[in-house]
């Protein structure tokens, strides 16, 4: 992985203020997402430690709880040539708190785009060229996020090719997946039960824009691609339930009566499982409560 030197506007650090357990720390915008953040320090908290977090930005402030999910101590940092510090995941975050983080990142990105574009020199900047950090840091920052000024929150974190950044994207996708699991097709797509199918389509297309695996291709991470695939499929399934399966209810009953063809085996011979059983086993998600078969 090549690290390119980039700019971290000197003002950025001041636009974002963060306290952990009542102690001020430096939190960089690149290291923050709606799932969690990474704090660069030579004295990380212990793994699993629960923390009280306070963040303030030009848009407002946030009180939240988090848990340490990753620790990079000095030795590990040297061995893996990365920054020492610790990664925190927010334990619970309300919708308005997530929105706060999204808005904060947007505001900070805009602030960074205004000054002339940072040179994306292939060689790392010398550490002295950076503003003196509150917490010890000798590593240059990674990909300048100014290069992707309009990137959405999920993509924002990815500009930093950092394990934690990838982890937070993965965590967001996992959250999304958990969120979808208990829902019916209607609530998954966020539409009323009697809403016209056109609304379902709009909701599905909007979800596609956010979660299609190609939207995550640049991360080059098999895990993220897999999670995005699962989220996309969950939305697609909800959409299929509403648009294809429901109107074809009569067709479904018909197929339920016809016997399922058995799998060919090495030996010949007979008998098929009833499609009724097949149908119950085939339903993947409790959501629609509808059997799927083709």
């Amino acid at each position: 992985m090549t690290r390119s030197g980039g700019s971290r506007g000197a003002g950025v650090a001041h636009d974002l203020y963060c306290e952990i357990e009542g102690v001020a720390v430096t939190l960089r915008a690149e290291d923050l997402s709606t799932a969690g953040f990474f704090i660069e320090t030579s004295k990380p908290y212990a793994i699993d430690r629960e923390l009280d977090i306070y963040v303030r930005s030009s848009v407002g402030e946030l009180f939240a709880c988090g848990q340490v999910v990753q620790v990079v101590d000095g030795r590990r940092a040297r061995a893996e040539s990365r920054r020492p510090g610790f990664g925190v995941l927010f334990t619970t975050l309300e919708d308005d708190q997530r929105a706060f983080i999204g808005l904060t990142l947007d505001a900070l990105t805009r602030a960074r785009v205004l000054p002339p574009k940072a040179p994306s020199a292939p060689t790392p900047e010398p550490p002295s060229a950076q503003p003196p950090p509150d917490v010890a840091s000798v590593h240059p920052p990674k990909t300048p996020s100014a290069a992707r000024p309009k990137a959405p929150v999920v993509a924002q974190a990815a500009a930093v090719e950092d394990v934690v950044a990838l982890k937070t994207i993965a965590a967001e996708l996992r959250n999304e997946l958990t969120k979808l699991q208990g829902k019916t097709a209607w609530t998954a797509l966020g539409i009323e039960a009697d809403a016209p199918l056109l609304n379902a389509k709009e909701a599905f297309l909007a979800a596609s824009k956010r979660f299609h695996p190609h939207k995550f291709a640049r991360h080059n991470s098999a895990e993220i691609t897999k999670l995005a695939t699962e989220v996309f499929i969950a939305y697609k399934r909800a959409y299929d339930v509403l648009t294809k399966l429901a109107p074809r209810a009569s067709h479904m009953q018909e197929t339920a009566r016809s016997p399922q063809r058995p799998l060919a085996s090495i030996a010949p011979a007979a008998q098929a499982a009833a499609a009724g059983a097949a149908a119950t086993n085939n339903s993947l998600r409790p959501s629609g409560g509808r059997p799927r078969s083709r």
Partner: protein
């Protein structure tokens, strides 16, 4: 990661594009052309030449000049289409150990993957010169109707050429992306793509920034080369009637005929008559003979190729029906591929779709432009645009009596995952063999075999009492993984389907290393 480029790796021509500051730019070849002939030749001293230079020497070196390699890639020698193709070309087509169709020259046997890699390497190299930076990644387009083996082989060709192929994109889909990105409208499109070797028809809906493929159909062995071939046949038989001499065994004469027929075909798209004049085509006891036809009329040519034009209709009707639409619901027809310049083809399109096609399309470049657009989607440059593609073929498993049981139907949006429950067919059956196929036929023998695996240690129960749940996961790049699970014990077995033929991972690695060493 270096730069990512979009490549239309065509049967007869290649075109390359990138998105620069939001606008697509076609990358010119070293000779300054906007497309490169898909021709690779091996010279007397064993050197490999590519593109227009290879085309120039094709008449004098027909046995070692390979064109139309896309027709062979990912196919078996025994395929009927390959047999026909083999009889028609001056170079030798042979079988590899696994039955794949390869090309034999005096320098040895070459897999279609290696030959395609030669094209891709040339593309990578002139693109790097043009862009002034390293090119490491690519989106390569293939006909929508390509099967898994053909797609994987194309991916391997990229790997051999030192390119990380990030996405194999369907050509008609690419064309729609290339056409529509600056036209923010909601519309339903038919993309009619008749290229040098393949025919694809895709029905697609654009809703704002979402491009959604509704259905796709086609014929992987119907293209411009077949039109040339019919004209060549006619010229050969006319010559035979006149001089009682067959030119079929003379590779140099065939190569000259091929070139002349292609030119005549193109001319007939814009003029009502043309002529072919090939002096000294062969020697006879009475002296040298010439092949000369002064007036080949467009109408005559159209009559010759009528059977091919008739074959265009069925896939179109099927695709429209599969999309759940009627012809009247289509807003626009895009014509893609050089063959759509032929008036008879355009008339057929009008007859099928009842409307005039969009005129603001460059059929030679639009696919590459679309591939470049997909690159921008994947790098995040075009953050709002997304492309929802479908699987062109049904995927299923073999059930008793050699029948196919579909798990994922054709034209399903990908990525997708489907489950299906199966039962054992005899008492105390202790394992099942899951055999995976692709295709629309009822009997698996008529479909393409993709892979197999075994789920063993099943509980001892009467026939039909053991249930095996089979899950197909088809990812956004069309790669299929299959899992089988015994329902009562939760025992699982799974396989990532690697195509049956083709090159092994090791072969691809070695060929890539070889190629790197050669070019230093």
């Amino acid at each position: 990661m270096g730069r990512m480029i979009g490549i239309d790796l065509g049967t007869t021509n290649c075109c390359v594009a990138v998105l620069q500051e939001g606008a697509a730019a076609v990358i010119p070849t070293r000779q300054g052309a906007r497309t490169m002939p898909s021709i690779v030749a091996y010279t007397e001293d064993g050197a490999e030449i590519v593109g227009v230079t290879a085309q120039r020497q094709s008449v004098t070196n027909p046995n070692r000049t390979v064109f139309g390699i896309k027709r062979l890639i990912g196919r078996k020698l025994e395929d009927p289409e390959i047999t026909r193709w083999r009889d028609a070309v001056p170079y030798e087509v042979c079988a590899a150990k696994n039955g794949d169709a390869w090309v034999r020259t005096r320098d040895g046997d070459h897999s279609p993957q290696e030959i395609s890699a030669a094209l891709l390497q040339e593309i990578k190299s002139f693109a790097e010169d043009y862009l002034g930076e390293q090119v490491t990644d690519a989106v390569i387009t293939v006909p929508a109707y390509f099967n898994d083996n053909q797609r994987q082989a194309t991916k391997d060709a990229g790997a051999i050429a030192g390119l990380n192929v990030r996405n194999i994109l369907n050509e008609p889909t690419a064309a729609a992306l290339g056409y529509g990105i600056d036209k923010n409208r909601d519309q339903t499109l038919a993309i009619f793509d008749l290229g040098g070797g393949t025919f694809d028809i895709t029905i697609m809906r654009r809703s704002g920034e979402v491009f959604e493929v509704l259905a796709t159909n086609g014929d992987t062995f119907l293209g411009g080369d077949d039109f040339d071939q019919l004209l060549i046949e006619r010229l050969l038989s006319d010559f035979e009637k006149e001089h009682k001499i067959s030119l079929r065994e003379d590779p140099v004469a065939l190569a000259r005929l091929k070139e002349a027929s292609e030119t005549a075909k193109r001319e007939l798209s814009s003029t009502p008559t043309t002529s072919i004049n090939l002096p000294f085509i062969c020697a006879s006891p009475r002296g040298p003979l010439h092949l000369r036809q002064d007036a080949i009329e467009r109408a005559t040519f159209e009559a010759i190729v009528e059977p091919l034009i008739a074959r265009l209709e069925e896939p179109c009707r099927r695709a429209i029906a599969d999309a759940g639409l009627t012809v009247e619901e289509l807003d626009q027809v895009l014509l893609v591929g050089g063959m759509t310049r032929m008036p008879a083809v355009q008339r057929k399109v009008e007859e099928i779709f009842g409307q005039i096609s969009a005129k603001d399309v460059n059929p030679d470049e639009i696919v590459a432009v679309g591939a470049a657009t997909q690159c921008a989607i994947m790098t995040g440059e075009l953050e709002d645009v997304v492309l929802l593609d479908v699987t062109p073929h049904s995927l299923g498993v073999r059930v008793k009596e050699g029948r196919m049981s579909n798990v994922i139907g054709k034209n399903t949006t990908i990525p997708t995952s489907e489950k299906k429950l199966f039962a054992t067919t005899r008492d105390d059956q202790d394992f099942v063999e899951i055999m995976v196929y692709q295709g629309e036929q009822q009997l698996v023998d008529h479909n393409t075999f993709l892979g197999r695996f075994v789920l063993g240690d099943l509980p001892c129960k009467p026939a039909g009492k053991v249930n095996v749940e089979v899950t197909f996961l088809l990812d956004a790049d069309g790669v299929l993984s299959v899992t089988a699970r015994e329902v009562s014990t939760n025992k699982e077995a799974s396989v990532k389907i690697a195509p049956s033929g083709g090159l092994s991972k090791e072969q691809v690695r070695d060929l890539a290393a070889e190629r790197r060493a050669k070019t230093g």
